[in-house]
Amino acid sequence: MAKIINRLCLVLKLVIILLTFGLTIFIMFSMYDSLEKELVGQNLLEFLKVILPFIVLIILFTINIMMGQKVVNDNIFFNIASTFSLMSVAYICYRAMYDTNMIFLYKTERNINFTYFSDQILIIKFMLYLIAIIDIVLIIRNKFLHKK
């Protein structure tokens, strides 16, 4: 049972990270477009700051799978926690685009609630960096200590 849940979480977190990465890029592009800001200089830097944790995580997850790192892939606690956190990110993206009860959704041309999404960016970044840190610590533990 634990193995099935672990596998399910492993697949889910990969699917959700790709999905949320795409949605975040779409929301950010729409936001800059509606504000008539070009993605250069400071704006580009801000944009990269938001999508950087997604890129880091996608790279780390790819390494985990390609190199078959069991210490990460078989860690059920890590997989459940990261899936849970990524699901909350996906829920935030969904609400930013489809929650029609928030008034700001009607104030933008794009029908995306940028105010709500901007409010949540900090907690999204924090969670994604935390997942990346745990993943890196697990890789270090696997590589350098288990060999000895």
Binding site: F77, F78, F84, S85, S88, N101
Partner: protein, 224 residues
Amino acid sequence: MGKFIDNYLNIITNMLCGILLILGGYNIIVNVLHAGEVGKTLYLSGNDASYQEYTANLKKIESNINNYEYKNSEYDAITMSTLKTKISYCYSLLNSTEAIGGLTLNTYINQYDIYRINNNFMNTIVNECWISGMSSFTFGNNHQGKYFHDVLPKYSQTIVLLVNDSDYLRNELLNNSSFAYTTNNSSIFVRNTISEQYAMLMRNYEQFSEIIYKVSEYLVDGEY
């Protein structure tokens, strides 16, 4: 030494995973509660006192407009006729489908409905009926007589208070995307703000219609 560091790293990763789980769970709970709060609907029965008072005021205004005959001693017939036109215009705005009376009874309304109707109150009813209609006519034409000089300014003061309430309501509704909407000092759980917001909106409409009704009474009786 290696085993010590291994155990130590194990504790750190488990601790960080715990923090991550708590954070993810907290984020989901807060968002679900927030979605629940902003998604609350209100059944519009039309049985509440303010709504009935408002519809009764509208009927009385309509009756006063229809029964108007000039018998005023304070102002001439042209002035009173212009006042009647202004009151008729206010009545048409209050009775329009964009106002609160345009909502279908026995259905559910959401926060966007309240926002829309509150905007109509501020932008159309108060601005067009009172500020550019009634006020500019009564104060701008240097009419002599007590009613336009002493009585109507008091109504304007009441309307300023209604506009303040309406402005507060609009800002609160615009703020409903904010993370702080359900996590402020007074409440962290769903608190059904829509009923409070509806009560405030309805009170604004009812008090405004009451003022227009009083002006229409003056139009018919010439007394205040």
